[in-house]
């Protein structure tokens, strides 16, 4: 009888209730050989998944929805730069309304839900280990908040929703480097899904170079007015940079006046609106500061 008031029992019951609600928001995405990963049933009739968890060459995936019904689906778009893919089920799959959580805070409870492959849900409980500002992925995508969880996740659970204590969705679970479990925030998914629905991809500007940050040699600091820049390590043949005569060894100082101290600063210059723009690239070549004009193209994937 006193059980009813036991806070630990209440806590446990609340987690069970949350997991049962979340069960209706997850689907298993079958990969073959008995393996699967998780997807989130998202408003608008799509399933959101972790891009890196889906094999690159496949287009068609079988989904196991809540309750165990199987539905065929096809990839409708993928964006490796934010690690978001969407699948379109060939039959309607109702998405329950899960509210969007605001900013995550370190120490808050996090419940990660995965699809068990037979129509049920699996659950993982932990806390938000670290909550930080927005960040850029290695592919240049902007992720709205850094959220690291302290829980373990199975590969089949990657791509499921992560809920906060009020049952709101913090975002999608995925693996970061060294098996770390991170969250792609709901805000990022809400930003990317409409773009993927429209074009199947997220267009980004492209120069066709590999860059590494370098210190500007002392002798050139004054004339370049910068202590660091981005050195061109290689140039993609026929790419915009190659056409503009940029060669390996050039040190890019700025793009349209924005200093290229660090990639983060100029990343914003290469959004979809940059495609086709004629940009002024200031660079150091053979010990002298030059300016070349480059027409930004669209990144090939």
């Amino acid at each position: 009888m006193t059980d009813q008031k036991d806070p630990l029992v209440e806590f446990s019951n609340a987690l069970v209730a949350r997991t049962e609600t979340a069960r209706n928001a997850v689907a298993a995405i079958r990969l073959g050989h008995g393996r699967h990963v998780t997807g989130i049933l998202w408003p608008g009739g799509v399933v959101v998944a972790s891009e890196q968890a889906l094999p690159g060459r496949e287009e068609d995936f079988e989904l196991v929805g809540p309750g165990g019904a199987t539905v065929a689906s096809r990839i409708a778009g993928r964006d490796p730069s934010t690690n978001i893919a969407i699948l379109k089920p060939l039959e309607i799959m109702a998405a329950p309304a899960i509210g969007s959580a605001g900013q995550a805070r370190a120490g808050a409870i996090a419940l990660a839900v995965g699809a068990d492959g037979t129509g049920g849900a699996s659950a993982r409980l932990g806390i938000v280990n670290r909550a930080g500002p927005e960040w850029h992925s290695i592919r240049g995508g902007l992720i709205d908040q850094r959220i690291v969880l302290d829980l373990r996740l199975a590969h089949r659970e990657e791509g499921g929703p992560v809920l906060d204590a009020s049952g709101l969705c913090l975002g999608m679970s995925t693996f970061g480097p060294r098996g770390q479990v991170i969250v792609i925030p709901t805000a990022t998914i809400e930003r990317i899904v409409p773009l993927l629905l429209k074009d199947g991809r997220v267009a980004r500007g492209w120069l066709g170079v590999a860059l590494q940050a370098v210190a500007v040699p002392d002798a050139l600091r004054e004339s370049s007015d910068q202590s660091s820049g981005l050195m061109v390590m290689s140039v993609v043949e026929g790419g915009p940079a190659a056409q503009a005569g940029i060669v390996a060894g050039d040190i890019i100082l700025s793009v349209d006046g924005t200093p290229a101290h660090r990639f983060r600063r100029i990343a914003r210059h290469f959004g979809s609106e940059s495609i086709g723009r004629k940009s002024e690239v200031r660079l150091i070549r053979s010990g002298a500061v030059n300016t070349v004009q480059v027409t930004i193209a669209e990144r090939r994937t």
């Binding site: 290695i138 850094r146 693996f175 480097p177 590999a210 981005l230 983060r264």
Partner: protein, 187 residues
């Protein structure tokens, strides 16, 4: 502590045969392997381990560490750009009868763009010295190639070691290649 560490070292150096079609690459690998304490031998000599560029060593009965190429059942398989410490670890592991596989991109996880501290950024000249170092060149040879004095090479070398937090030349090359892997931006 040091006694325990000493016990982990192999008693006898391993005999490693190296196969690569590119003479320069072969020389670089031979240097890496011998600096790790192994004995480099010819392909037709008795060897504990064969270090091969790419696949296609059909009929090889010795343990093979393959760099790049496609899955062919070699005991060890590393990416072509594996660094000295990884190659050394793989050679020791396959000689001990283990199987070595490097994590693929799917295991690497979705990561942030790495950005070095500004005080640790290398200069273009230091990158040139590093490239020569990776080829196994001596300070004298580096001075000749870059047309600078031996004193200047030593100056750059000290700066490189400090910025990379490395104590040996092999470690500097390994750390720099790891940094380059993490911090290279495709734009």
């Amino acid at each position: 502590m040091s006694e325990a560490a000493g016990q982990l070292m192999p008693i006898a150096p391993l005999r490693v045969a190296i196969r690569s079609n590119d003479a320069l690459r072969r020389a670089a690998l031979a240097l890496m392997v011998s600096r790790s304490g192994h004995l480099v031998v010819g392909m037709d000599e008795a060897a504990d381990v064969v270090l091969a560029d790419g696949s296609g060593l059909a009929g090889e009965t010795r343990s093979v560490v393959r760099l790049g190429g496609t899955e062919d059942g070699s005991q060890g398989a590393l990416p072509r750009g594996a660094d000295a410490s990884q190659i050394d670890a793989a050679i020791r592991a396959v000689a001990a009868g283990l199987i070595v596989r490097a994590p693929g991109p799917a295991d690497a996880g979705f990561g942030a763009m790495g950005e070095a501290d500004s005080h640790a950024l290398l200069t273009p000249r230091e990158l040139e010295v590093l490239a020569a170092l990776a080829e196994g060149m001596t300070n004298k040879a580096i001075a000749r190639r870059l047309d600078i004095s031996l004193h200047t090479v030593k100056f750059h070398m000290e700066s490189l070691f400090r910025k990379l937090g490395a104590r040996t030349r092999t470690e500097a090359v390994a750390k720099a290649s790891e940094r380059r892997r993490r911090e290279t931006i495709m734009l």
